[in-house]
């Protein structure tokens, strides 16, 4: 059946939406910028040494594809074996099933509700070498002695920590982030269909311009 599919729209990957101070902002994603995002995701994954055959659990609903689909397609290109779980509390049993039955190398996008449920059986997550957690899940995971890294969707951009866990990277060819009065502000610098200029991300934090030992370029952000 796959051979009969008509093929993608020539220019548009899709249309996303994020919440900003002035309300809901819709943004179109073109294929060229999407391809660059996949390339960047590939570079970040390389710092984590995720390789073919690794089992990766992904917790990201379909509507988060503007942020997480580049990561997922980079994983597919790496030929990892991926499993999907929902980020809602009622689906924690699915995460537990994968963690119990299979050797999971990485769990990407773990949410605070699911983390809380899984932490009732601490050994489940303790066996996972790589945890990329949503910002509100980081503290509870750390409180249980785990070492999650940050995965954050900020406006139209995705920020990911590398194994240094010393601030999240955004592709500097696409985005510039500044701290203005303690708030993080985003501006598009790449050739993207949607241009954000001085977008208040609604989160506090700071930026770090020092080179990251992981080798990824650009400044990092630390969420407060």
């Amino acid at each position: 059946m796959a051979a009969a599919l008509p093929g993608p729209h020539p220019t548009v990957f899709g249309i996303g939406s994020y919440r900003a101070a002035r309300g809901q902002v819709d943004f179109e994603i073109g294929w060229a910028e999407f391809e660059r995002d996949v390339r960047w995701a590939h570079r970040v994954l390389a710092t984590w040494e995720i390789v073919a055959g690794d089992h990766v659990v992904l917790s990201t609903p379909n509507y988060e594809a503007p942020w997480t689909s580049p990561l997922i397609r980079a994983l597919r290109a790496l030929r990892t074996v991926n499993s999907n779980v929902e980020p809602y509390n009622w689906d924690a049993r699915r995460s537990a099933t994968f963690l119990r039955l299979l050797p999971v190398k990485a769990y990407l996008g773990i949410s605070a509700p699911v983390a809380a449920a899984l932490l009732e059986t601490p050994e489940l997550l303790a066996s996972v070498p790589i945890l990329l957690a949503r910002p509100d899940a980081v503290k509870p995971l750390r409180d249980h002695g785990l070492t999650p890294a940050v995965l954050a969707m900020l406006g139209p951009a995705l920020a990911l920590e590398c194994p240094q866990r010393a601030g999240a990277h955004l592709d500097p060819a696409e985005w510039r982030v500044e701290a203005v009065g303690g708030s993080l502000v985003l501006t598009t610098v790449g050739a993207r269909a949607h241009l954000a200029r001085g977008l208040d991300l609604g989160v506090t934090g700071d930026v770090d311009d020092s080179p990251c030992p992981c080798g990824l370029p650009g400044r990092r952000i630390r969420l407060a």
Partner: protein
Amino acid sequence: MADQLPQVLEPPRATHAGQQRYFQPDVETMPRAELHALQQRRVLELVPYVYEHSTFYRERWSAAGVEPSDIRDLDDFHRLVPTFTKRDIQEFRDRTGDPYGGLLCVPPAELTSIMSTSGTTADPELIPEIWDTAPPLPLCSARDLWELGLRPGDRILICPGTFRGFYDTFFQDMGLIPIFIDTWIGQGQQVLDAMRRFRPAYLQLLQPNVLELERLEHATDIREALSSLKGASFAGQPLGRALAAKVRDEWGVELFTYTSAGDTGTAWECREHDGYHLWEDLVLAECLEPERDVATDPGVVGELVATDLDNLAAPLVRYRSGDLVRLDRGTCGCGRTHARQWVVGRRGDETIVAGRVVVMGELWAAIESLPETQDGMFQIVRQSSVVETLRVRVGYEPTRTEDLDELRTRLSAVVTERVGVTPELELVTVDALLDRSSSVAKFPRVVKS
């Protein structure tokens, strides 16, 4: 590693005439004889493949004295290959420690993904997959969404759930433009806002979504907001007949309900809304008596037994799905030749009342025969499958009901006549019955209280 850049831009692979009703005309309207030959060819490839690569099948078939060389045609397959249930997989896993229950036919590292079943009643079961273009479950709905009316260039609201695979690549390969908005339960106003902003041709609805929209009716013109839809898919807990009529007649939305194809994929309604199409080039569907490996007579309710025809990772071969269905292999009004199923219940839902077997489908038929209870919304209330009294909670439609005592008397009579047991009836409104359900995915037909 950084040099291995993924390919995300693909050229169109085929062209489709925009007005053509069928997505794959040659397959969808294939004469039954050709379909039978195709199934036989695939089964004869599948049998030695799984025997060689799956420890579960090899062990099970050997115990039954069956070898691949015994299977020379579909008749041999139906006659000799043993059926199995989900419990058999679980027992194999518990005994051997194999997380895949012995079904996996390839090394784990060769898999593309490992998805899982819904897990409504127990821990989810693993579903290993190998694919190139789009995940198997989304992909198998391509013909159905084409039938719904979707065409390249249409905008669609993305469905939220991902546990059977991501949908973005599939929708994109259909030439559609996904709108990535949260449409999960609790987002009714956001859905309406998105409908107005983007004018999409499609979205997925669950029963709680419909109830949310109904609650917003006083403040917004739902019909206008949904007017760009070519159709909406619908699955899970059923709508009452009255609510379904509201969606169709007052809101102007054509719902396309879909259901499971015995855990091998999905089966959707076409525009005729006369049963769910099983794509028989992908699944070999049998309707067997629940307790014996014997086919039911045509049109008689039995258990759906499914064989994967397109799955090399961990194919199900004669899998007893637990779904009690009626099958029709006649050509549908839409012109498609693939079988249709009507799901009437789940195996295990049978109740033995004072020594007499009460089958869900029979009870269902009795209840929906009266206008007040024609929605067929009911639950058997029992502590075990063996009871002395048949207790049934039945949903009635208040607008069609004048006298509850009179309804109780009439309903008791038709149930007694149909199933041979006089029930103890609890009458509640359909809405009250739906509100009792804890799952958005399935409506429980058997409850303990």
